[in-house]
């Protein structure tokens, strides 16, 4: 236990407070928080759906929860069920084997059920396109409100994309 406390003490607080001028975690996060307060009250619940991704997007989504971004402090959190979600963050070209599952997840999400297609594959099928096995873009399967490009998008690009979607509401 003592070792743990020592390590925590030595690590200190990571949260980036004094960011360089633009595109920073704090700025983006605070802006998101303001929009979330306007639209949802206090928080934005995200359900992620991997509909066929290579797992690259998921790794960057995980990064949003590390100490540097700590996206929960802005009221954004990932939930386990679509029934608790305000927003679906969907990755991948939609594999045909995932088409029904994605549709089912969408149907299970309460309004306003915003949808973001994340990554180049989610945007237009990316390297995989449309084929016998892939439906391509997320928008080919469910209605999409915003697209965040990148292969994969960085955590900051993700925050930026979420903010842009919220601002437009």
């Amino acid at each position: 236990m003592f070792d743990v406390l020592v390590k925590i003490f030595k690590t200190g607080c990571l949260t980036e407070k004094v960011p360089p001028p633009d595109q920073t975690v704090m700025e983006l996060g605070s802006a998101c928080q303001k929009e979330i307060a306007r639209i949802f009250g206090k928080s934005l619940a995200i359900r992620m759906v991997d509909a066929g991704s290579c797992n690259g997007c998921e790794l960057e989504m995980h990064a949003l929860n590390n100490g540097f971004y700590d996206i929960e402090r802005f009221g954004i959190h990932f939930v386990a069920s679509p029934r608790h979600a305000d927003l679906l963050l969907v990755t991948g070209p939609v594999a045909r084997h995932m088409q029904a599952a994605l549709k089912g997840t969408y149907d299970a999400t309460p309004n306003p059920k915003l949808v973001i297609a994340m990554g180049d594959c989610g945007a237009d099928g990316g390297e995989f396109g449309v084929s016998y096995a892939s439906c391509g873009a997320v928008a080919n399967v469910i209605p999409v409100d915003a697209v965040i490009r990148g292969c994969p998008p960085t955590p900051l690009q993700l925050m930026q994309g979420i903010l842009e979607l919220l601002r437009g509401r």
């Binding site: 070792d3 743990v4 020592v6 390590k7 925590i8 030595k10 690590t11 990571l14 992620m48 759906v49 991997d50 509909a51 066929g52 991704s53 290579c54 797992n55 690259g56 997007c57 998921e58 790794l59 960057e60 989504m61 995980h62 990064a63 929860n65 590390n66 100490g67 540097f68 990932f78 386990a80 069920s81 679509p82 991948g92 070209p93 594999a95 045909r96 084997h97 995932m98 088409q99 029904a100 599952a101 549709k103 089912g104 997840t105 990316g126 390297e127 995989f128 396109g129 449309v130 084929s131 016998y132 096995a133 892939s134 292969c151 994969p152 960085t154």
Partner: protein, 536 residues
Amino acid sequence: MISHADLGWQSLSPDIDSLVRLFRDAGIPTEVHNTLQGRAKLVTIDPGFWGKAAAVAAANRIRWCAVWGEHCPPQIHIFAALAGRDGHLLLETMVADRQAELPSQTPFFPAANRPERYLQDMFGVRFFDHPDKRRWIRHQAWQEGQYPLLKTFSLAGSPEDMTPPDCLYPFVPVEGEGVYEIPVGPVHAGIIEPGHFRFQAMGEDILSLEEHLGYVHKGIEKCAEGRDVRGLARLAGRVSGDSTVAHTWAACQACEAAVGITLPRRALAIRAILAERERIANHLGDIGACCNDVGFTFAQAQCSRLRELWQRQNSDVFGHRLLMDVVVPGGVSRDLDARQIEVLNKAIEQLRHELQDLLPLLYEYPSLQDRLRATGVLSLKKARSLGVLGFLARASGECWDLRRDAPYGPYDDMVITVPHTLEGDASGRLRIRGDEILVSLDLLEEMLKKLPSGEVRVEFPVVSGDCRGIGLVEGWRGEILAYVHLDAAGAVSRYFPRDPSWLNWPALEAMIEGVIVPDFPLCNKSVNGSYSGHDL
């Protein structure tokens, strides 16, 4: 009880030339060919001997690695990769595409079970004596009797507007009073890839687990057909995003072997630097995630912090947080200057310093180890029979590592330490991964110190004729195999990547019996198979 003498298994397995002799002694006519380039020997055998060859190999402690096909109308070529003490032997045989039939190797190598069913679904090859006739990769996106990897099947296929869910996959039921079933997935609760797990449980105890994968099958192999080598490298980098360096390297290695180019040593060293950085990033992330799955969030906070710093440096130095598209045919797209080398060295030193605090703490922390020890035990015997790879195998005492056992540049002039243990539980796997980070840090330091001068890339030549090559790379999950066939115009006519997850997924089923339901996420994370790399 397993003695340390059992660990000598690998050194007792025959070398590849001896294996060929063993085949001949057993009355299997073999023909050695040099129509495929790379670090493997190719022999062709008659299809009738396909099963017998496996029987001979299995009786001689050979490791089974992969089986795949290639449609060259009117035949389907079938390849199986076997590993001996000093490298790989590829068996090749031909069957007619209209009535493709072959003896199964599964009775001798359980590892062949799913890969053979994959061939059955994708090429229509029927395997005699296969213990499990169920489909594997095909859900409902194409009909029974259609085979996507035949040349007569178009990339577009003829899918329905709406592919129905695969509700009727025939899981093996367990019956008895009090037995209940838990279906999980394909959409999971966390931020992970999709797949389906079917548990049969009694109270808290899991009686059996059956995996049903294939949800993220997106036609990677078919997509590859007709691409040029650069396009293939981009695609290979997205077979499994967490192993982008290793898969791209394997695919490029296969292409480079096929056309017979040798890379500058500096290019190889930078590839290995990228691969070791990828290993470290994934091990860091997963060590944290395993601890998080048993509620030890301190480790998650620390490891995700270290991983983020590592990824930021990837971005600063190599231009991409996950290192995608840095490995290219003919070399790498980025060189390192003196300042960058200094920056990388500094980060190595810092990470090592951090881990000196962190790893001993995790290895010994009582409330964490209480959950990890004796959880999800994979015995050495089971690991061996399933042919599992990478840290999963090494945590059960089976310590293959291509970097040491079948080395390729730049590892061919380095001494590679391969951490291993006999515990076979979640604790052992965590420790092996921690120790592998330390080994990789040493390798990185050595490579940066001895970085050869010269070019980092050579022009990929114009292909002068039909050629085939094999790539073999030790990714962070284990051995990755890539087979590439380029046609006379230099376009890909077949690409097959074999992610280690093919061999590691069945181990999760094997280790889970008797484990309690709440420990499943930990066991799953401690194996961390790739869904995308498996489903293709």
